[in-house]
């Protein structure tokens, strides 16, 4: 009987080996280990055996059965693995197909520039202050040392809505309003971003509406070197640490001394190229020490206080930073234009 069992074991293992599907394997299991299978049959005939032989045959039968069981399990695992692999193979996808896009808009480049400027000046201790776009003549001009017969106040250059109200031509009136609010006591340290309007025909470099960012710092003992240091810190932060500035004398009614501020050209590094008109420098902003008349008009004692002010065109800074060639792009809002500033 033991021989028979041994033989059955051999046969079974051979069939397991041959089985190539889970189903075939199941058939082997039923065939050998089923209730009607040969091993059961052998065991059933054990009653005829001697008490001596019985445990031996029983042990052998269990051994054979276990062996078959183990082999079956191992083979099942193998076959299942293969089957799963085949299934996964069938499930495979073309990973080069495009993914589902996450819908995302974009910041307007002018907003991006304004916010960047705000953040730099906030870091330097400035607060952001805003004011009305329809201004009185007083705040837009007079409080800034532009007397009534000043040529800059020509009707032809500004959009007046009444004889003494106009669309502000600069954000400086916010400075006048803020100084007034401080009632002669410093420090006043603000930047004023906003829309301004001038009677210009729209073309590649002119726009009847544009944005400015102006700054004002009034305190005791403010020096021109502070203006230079502040603007240099700003320029390095905005354009990059390798950029430098230079001051050139200029004229504005609200500052004395007044300067134009040039930044070293980022294209040629100062050697001179088409962008900087071969000068190595690009004019970027106007600035100066607050005119004593402006301090006085707005309630500050020029004997005690001094200050600096500066004004920048936001569009110009955006155009320089991103190489935009036409100011009208900012206001036509072509999606293909706006899309380009997703990352700013």
């Amino acid at each position: 009987m033991i021989d028979r069992l041994q033989e059955l074991g051999k046969e079974a293992l051979e069939e397991i080996k041959q089985a190539d599907t889970v189903k075939a394997l199941d058939a082997v299991r039923v065939k050998y280990l089923g209730k009607k299978g040969p091993i059961t049959e052998v065991l059933r005939g054990m009653g005829k055996l001697s008490a001596e032989e019985r445990p031996k045959v029983g042990q052998k039968a269990n051994e054979v059965r276990e062996e078959i069981q183990q082999q079956l399990e191992q083979k099942t695992e193998e076959l299942e693995k293969i089957a799963l692999e085949e299934k996964l193979q069938e499930e495979s996808i073309d990973v080069t197909l495009p993914g589902k896009e996450v819908k995302r808009g974009a910041r307007h480049p002018l907003t991006a520039v304004v916010e960047e400027m705000e953040d730099i000046f906030i870091g330097l201790g400035f607060s952001v202050t805003e004011g009305p776009e329809v201004e009185t003549d007083y705040y837009n001009f007079e409080a800034l040392n532009l007397p009534p017969d000043h040529p800059a106040r020509d009707m032809q250059d500004s959009f007046y809505v009444t004889p003494d109200m106009l669309l502000r031509t600069q954000t400086s009136p916010v400075q006048a309003r803020t100084m007034e609010k401080f009632k002669g006591k410093g420090p006043v340290k603000i930047v004023c971003p906003g829309k301004v309007y001038r009677r210009d025909d729209d073309d590649a470099t002119h726009s009847h509406q544009f944005m400015q960012m102006e700054g004002l710092y009034v305190d005791e003992n403010v020096r021109m070197s502070d203006l230079k240091g502040t603007l240099e810190a700003f320029v390095k932060e905005y354009f990059g640490p390798d950029r430098t500035i230079r001051l050139r004398p200029s004229f504005f009614p609200f500052t004395e001394p007044s300067v134009e501020v040039d930044v070293s050209c980022g294209i040629c590094g100062g050697d001179g190229c088409r962008i900087c008109k071969h000068s190595g420098w690009i004019e970027v902003l106007g600035a100066g020490m607050v005119h004593p008349n402006v301090l006085t008009y707005n309630g500050f004692d020029p004997e005690k206080y001094s200050g600096f002010a500066f004004g920048m065109g936001v569009e110009r800074f955006a155009m320089l930073k991103y190489g935009i060639d036409d100011i009208r792009h900012f206001y036509t809002n072509d999606i293909r234009f706006l899309e380009q500033f997703k990352r700013v």
Partner: protein, 806 residues
């Protein structure tokens, strides 16, 4: 102002500087040189030639064959100019020359005849048409007889020069003259100034016997002077003078006119020469014009004047618009022999008014408007007399007839070293400061620490201490100012809550898929009173609009956003999602009496496909709920998610069945909806959804606080119900009934299905909700939930006649 580099050399020694270096010096000193115009770059092989013979070309009517002596040889040159003639001295471009237009001169054959060069017009040598003397405008240029044959024609024409184009700031009117620039250059370089010769020999006859001057308006004309010059011969001015005028952008006319223009550029002092015989009288009267009085100016235009304008008259009628332009009938002409030379100081305001009203701007009016040096008038007049004597053969009568009301005020500014250094943040010595004022030729006195500087009419921009400090800074050099950071009180800086909130809104909308737009505030009348948030009693209109399109301030952001949608649509971009943050402007019923209200609003416009993944077949069109979802998300983002309510509403420009008002605490602050199909048609756009919110109300609402609540430790129980209600019952209303009836235990109500159609009675719809019950303190029992749930169902039946769907 155009400054000839060669001409400037007359007054200040800049021989060690090139034109470029001169320009750089000026620019760094604050007189900005905008452009450099080299007048003859690469212009060579052009000589003065003598036309020995000039004959008709046998094969061409319009051509002549000229034999031209160029100094070294006689060359045959074919010329097509109508004014070419034998005996002329002309500019000959020899083979090898390259003209400014790029034309290369070569030996050639023209209609069978050899031509070894070209006789040039001034235009061909690069001179602008408008600067060419009238006689040479339509032909070649002819040199004066004394020109040397074979000489470099480019040099003879003064073209070996560079012109500096200045962009002057309004305070530096002193630089509107060659001498003014010379003083500036001399100060920058610490050098001397060489003033021109103004010494003439006066005739014995007295001018005062010939003419009289009367000024009726001394406040407009503080100084008027007249000189009389007789026996002048009108002819061309010397070539060097013509050359310099051309460089300065002025066309040569004749010797007398050229001399007045020359002195104008040289001294910055406008002069006018009248023909004394045509003047009409011997008395000059300066007065205001009468209402409706007319004058025919030099340009042959009739000008109608008012009492706001000032005129020079002969006692009867106007002969010139004071400071602006001469009159036609007293103009110097070819037969003029006696001249009345006017040199005056007219005040800026009066000249500006006259110039503006007549639309006439001249070299003269520009200078008077900006303010001339009232103490240099006589000097300029003398210089002109000198030149008229020398180059027009004139005899200058003795004396100047004048009326003088000038006030010579002495104005002294004071400063000290400490103050200079304190304002600039520098460390300059008193000696350096004083030497700068000396370089500027300002009378300076030092008394201990004090530095007193006398104001000068030559530099009217220097009036206060800060002006002096600026002079110190710019002459010392801004490069020497150190860079420091403010050392005063520390300020924290930052954004206001509202500014932060606006950034939050922008970030949310950007990440939600909307592009930020910035559109113009000025709009057209047909675009106001559309898509309004609230009543607009009046608009804010521009007094003198540049165009109808930009004549009034916007009252809503939506019209321009729709323009943007349309703009993009015209460029095949059909899926557009935009938002804008900006102000709208609300006027008063009648004209504005105070500053208008500027309401900050947030608006958006969304059209086309919203959610797209084409190859997987996903294609979700923008609809009301896409845009509503964005707003709901935004409200959560700014902390008012549970407070904002949507309710059906009607707006003129919106689809009546697809629009809603948004409110918070019973206060409406915005709307959302589909653009009315007729309005979509008007704008040429497809189905578009818009919204507009009052930002002030949105941001001033009480925000839900951010604070921690214990996480639930007990399980929740979920129950779904499907209800059948009348089709006009609003889902929001049903949800509200559920929430109220559910009480404390009901934590969440979610609508998950809306159905109308088959298997439902006509006029009915089915709404399915999922309800979640939870007690944070303990595990809920089924019975408790069932009890509440049944109460919910009862309330639904009672309040919205809902029936459970079978």
């Amino acid at each position: 102002m155009l400054v000839s580099y060669q001409w400037l050399k007359e007054y200040v020694d800049i021989s060690d500087l090139t034109a470029e270096e001169t320009a750089e010096k000026l620019t760094r000193g604050g007189v900005e040189v905008d452009l450099l115009h080299p007048r003859s770059e690469g212009l060579d092989h052009i000589v003065v030639g003598f036309v020995e013979e000039c004959e008709q070309h046998p094969n061409a009517d319009k051509l002549r064959i000229c034999q031209v002596n160029t100094g070294s040889e006689t060359a045959q040159i074919i010329c097509g100019a109508p004014n070419v003639a034998a005996g002329q001295k002309v500019a000959v471009a020899k083979p090898g020359a390259v003209l400014p237009g790029g034309m290369k001169i070569k030996k050639a054959k023209l209609r069978g005849e050899a031509s070894e060069g070209m006789i040039c017009s001034l235009q061909e040598l690069g001179i602008e048409q408008k600067l060419v003397a009238k006689e040479f405008m339509d032909g070649i240029y002819v040199f004066p007889e004394d020109a040397e044959v074979g000489a470099d024609a480019v040099n003879e024409l003064g073209l070996r020069d560079t012109v500096l184009e200045l962009d002057l700031t309004p305070n530096r009117s002193d630089c509107l003259s060659m001498i003014g620039i010379a003083y500036e250059m001399a100060a920058l370089l610490d050098r001397g100034v060489q003033l021109p010769d103004a010494s003439f020999t006066a005739a014995s006859e007295s001018a005062a016997n010939k003419v009289s001057v009367r000024v009726d308006v001394p406040e407009d004309n503080p100084y008027y002077s007249a000189k009389v010059i007789k026996e002048v011969t009108i002819g061309p001015s010397p070539l060097w003078m013509q050359n310099r005028l051309t460089a300065a952008g002025i066309r040569p006319i004749n010797n007398v006119v050229d001399i007045t223009n020359y002195v104008l550029i040289e001294y910055g002092q406008p002069l006018h020469a009248f023909d004394l015989d045509r003047f009409g009288s011997e008395s000059i009267v300066v007065r205001r014009a009468q209402e409706e009085e007319t004058i025919t100016t030099l340009d042959e235009e009739v000008r109608t004047l008012s009492s706001e304008h000032m005129v020079i008259t002969n006692g009867e009628e106007p002969t010139a618009l004071a400071g602006v332009m001469g009159g036609a009938f007293s103009e110097v002409q070819e037969d003029t022999t006696a001249i009345l030379l006017e040199a005056a100081y007219f005040t800026p305001a009066r000249v500006r008014k006259t110039s503006k009203d007549t639309g006439l701007r001249s070299e003269s009016s520009i200078r008077f408007e900006k303010g001339i040096d009232q103490n240099r008038v006589e000097e300029a007049s003398a210089r002109a007399a000198y030149l008229l004597e020398r180059y027009a053969g004139g005899k200058v009568l003795d004396g100047t007839v004048e009326e003088d009301h000038r006030v010579q005020e002495k104005h002294v500014m004071t400063t000290d070293t400490n103050r200079v250094n304190q304002l600039l943040g520098m460390d300059i010595t008193q000696d350096d400061i004083v030497s700068i004022f000396r370089r500027l030729r300002l009378h300076t006195e030092v008394d201990g620490e004090n530095i007193a500087v006398e104001a000068s009419t030559r530099r009217p921009d220097l009036r206060i201490e800060e002006d002096l400090i600026e002079e110190v800074a710019r002459l010392y050099g801004y490069d020497y100012i150190p860079t420091t950071l403010p050392h005063g009180t520390t300020t924290p800086g930052g954004l206001s809550t509202e500014q932060k909130d606006r950034r939050t809104i922008r970030r949310f909308l950007e990440t939600s898929g909307l592009h930020e737009a910035i559109t113009y505030s000025l709009t057209s009348p047909d675009r106001v009173k559309r898509f309004l948030l609230s009543d607009v009693p009046g608009t804010v209109d521009v007094s003198l609009p540049m165009s109808e399109e930009r004549s009034t301030m916007r009252t809503s952001l939506i019209p321009h956003l729709l323009d943007t949608v349309q703009y993009n649509r015209n460029r095949q971009i059909n899926d557009t999602a935009l938002f804008e943050l900006g102000s709208v402007f609300i006027g008063e019923e009648s004209s504005l009496s105070r500053q208008p209200e500027e309401k900050k609003v947030l608006a958006g416009a969304v059209t086309g496909l919203w959610d797209v993944h084409l190859w997987q077949g996903e294609k979700k069109k923008t609809d009301f709920f896409v845009v509503k979802g964005i707003l709901e998300g935004l409200f959560k983002e700014v902390g008012i998610g549970d407070q904002a309510l949507f309710a059906p509403s009607r707006h003129n420009d919106l689809h009546p069945g697809r629009s809603a008002d948004v409110s918070i605490n019973g206060r409406t602050f915005g709307f959302i909806g589909q653009v009315h199909p007729n309005v979509e048609k008007e704008w040429g756009i497809k189905e578009t959804y818009v919204f507009q919110l009052d930002l002030d109300i949105l941001l001033s609402a009480d925000k839900e606080p951010t604070s921690y609540a214990t996480l639930p430790r007990y399980p929740s129980i979920s129950r779904d119900i499907a209800l059948v209600v009348g089709e006009d019952v609003a889902a929001g209303e049903v949800k509200q009934v559920i929430e109220e009836a559910g009480g404390e235990l009901l934590k969440q109500v979610t609508l998950f299905d809306v159905y109308e159609g088959e298997n439902l009675e006509v006029g009915k719809k089915s709404l399915a909700f999922s309800l979640v019950y939870l007690d944070p303190e303990r595990t809920l029992t089924d019975e408790e939930v069932t009890k509440t749930h049944e109460h919910v169902l009862a309330e639904l039946t009672d309040k919205v006649q809902a029936v459970l769907r079978q």
